[in-house]
Point group: C2
Chain length 214, copies 2
Amino acid sequence: MNRPRILLATNNAGKVRELVVLLAGTPFAVATPSDEGIALDVEETGDTFEENAVLKARAFAQASGLLSIADDSGLEVDALDGEPGVRSARYAGPDATDEDRVRYLLGKLEDVEWKRRGARFRSVVALAYPDGEVRLFEGACEGMVAFEPQGDKGFGYDPIFYIPALGRHMAELEMEEKNRMSHRGQAVRRAVEFLGSAEALELYGGAETGSRQE
Amino acid sequence: MNRPRILLATNNAGKVRELVVLLAGTPFAVATPSDEGIALDVEETGDTFEENAVLKARAFAQASGLLSIADDSGLEVDALDGEPGVRSARYAGPDATDEDRVRYLLGKLEDVEWKRRGARFRSVVALAYPDGEVRLFEGACEGMVAFEPQGDKGFGYDPIFYIPALGRHMAELEMEEKNRMSHRGQAVRRAVEFLGSAEALELYGGAETGSRQE
C-alpha cells in the first residue's frame, strides 16, 4: 500500500527544509512542488496570515490533486504596531534578500531601546484538501529584535530575533532546536496531530479518490 | 452543607492576596492561618522549590487538619546560574525587605548587558492532605531582569522583572493580569483543576473525616 502524500505548498527553500523535518515520522510521504512538476507562484493578497495560508494551500491542492500544507508567517514588532506582520517577506521591497530585510528592519528600530523591542514570530498553517476543505493551525514564539544580526542558520528575520529564555538568536539554533520552539514548529505539530485523527483520515480518503483511481 | 475548606499555607501577605483571588470561584472556602489561629513558621530547608512547598503544605495540614496549599517560588537568573532560585526570599539576608532584595540583585547584575539578563519566575504548588498525601503542580514565567525597578504592584522581585511580550514590569500588572500569566497563577490553576477531579474529591473525603466527625 502506498503511503498517503502531502504536498508542501511553498517555494521557499528554508520552509521546505523545516517542513520536511517536521513531517518526518508522520504516515505521510512529503512531496515538493518540483517533485510534482508544479510551478505556481501564489500572490499573497490576504490581509492576515490566515487568508494567505489558505490562498497558498488551496492553490497547490487544486493544481496537484493532493492534500497540501502551507505556512504563512511573519514577525510582529510591538514598537511598529505589529509591522511587518503579513508584509514580512516584502517589507523591504519585492526583490529584497533576507539580508536587505534584516538591515531595513534594524534601521526602522535604530532609536528604539531594548525594552521596547518586544516581538513575536507568528505562523498559521493551512491544510487544504483538493475538494476545498481547509483546516487552520497556529503557533507563536515570543522574543525581541536584537541590535545586530547573529547566527547563520534558519532564514528570514532569524538572525535578529533574540530569545531571552535561551540567551540566543533564532539563527543560532540548530534546526531541531528551532523546530521544537518556533512558531512554525508549533503550528505544524498541531497540524500533524490533526492529520493523525479520524476526521483527517476520512477527509483524506475523500481527497485521494477524487484525484486518482487506484 | 458546608463548603470544603482549604488552608493557605503561607504567612506572606502578597501570596495570600493572590491565592485568595486564584481560589475564588472554586468550590473551596479559603482559610488563612490567622483565621484558624495557627502561628507556624516553617523553616525552608529544602534544596528545591518542590521540597520547600511540600514542607510548608504538610506542616500546615498537620497543624490544622485541613487540606493545605503552599507555594514555593523564586527567580532564576541565567547570568547567575539560576540564582537566587530557592534562596530568593533570603538572598539579601534574613531581615531584608523586598526593596533590599531588589537592590541587592540589581547590584549583582550591574555590569550585565540586557541580552544576558534572561530570567524566569518558577513556582511549585503543593497540596497536602492531613493524612500525608501530597500533589505537586508547576508554573513558570519567562522574562528579564530590568536595570531599574518599575511599578508598585505585586511583591518580591516583581518591580525588576520585565516581560518583553507585554512591554511591562511584573509590578506594573494589575493582580488579575499578573495571575493570568504568572508562574504562581499557572501552578495554582493546575492545582485547582486537580481539586475538581474525582481523585481529589476522594482524597478530600478521606482527609475531612480524618480531621473532624460530623
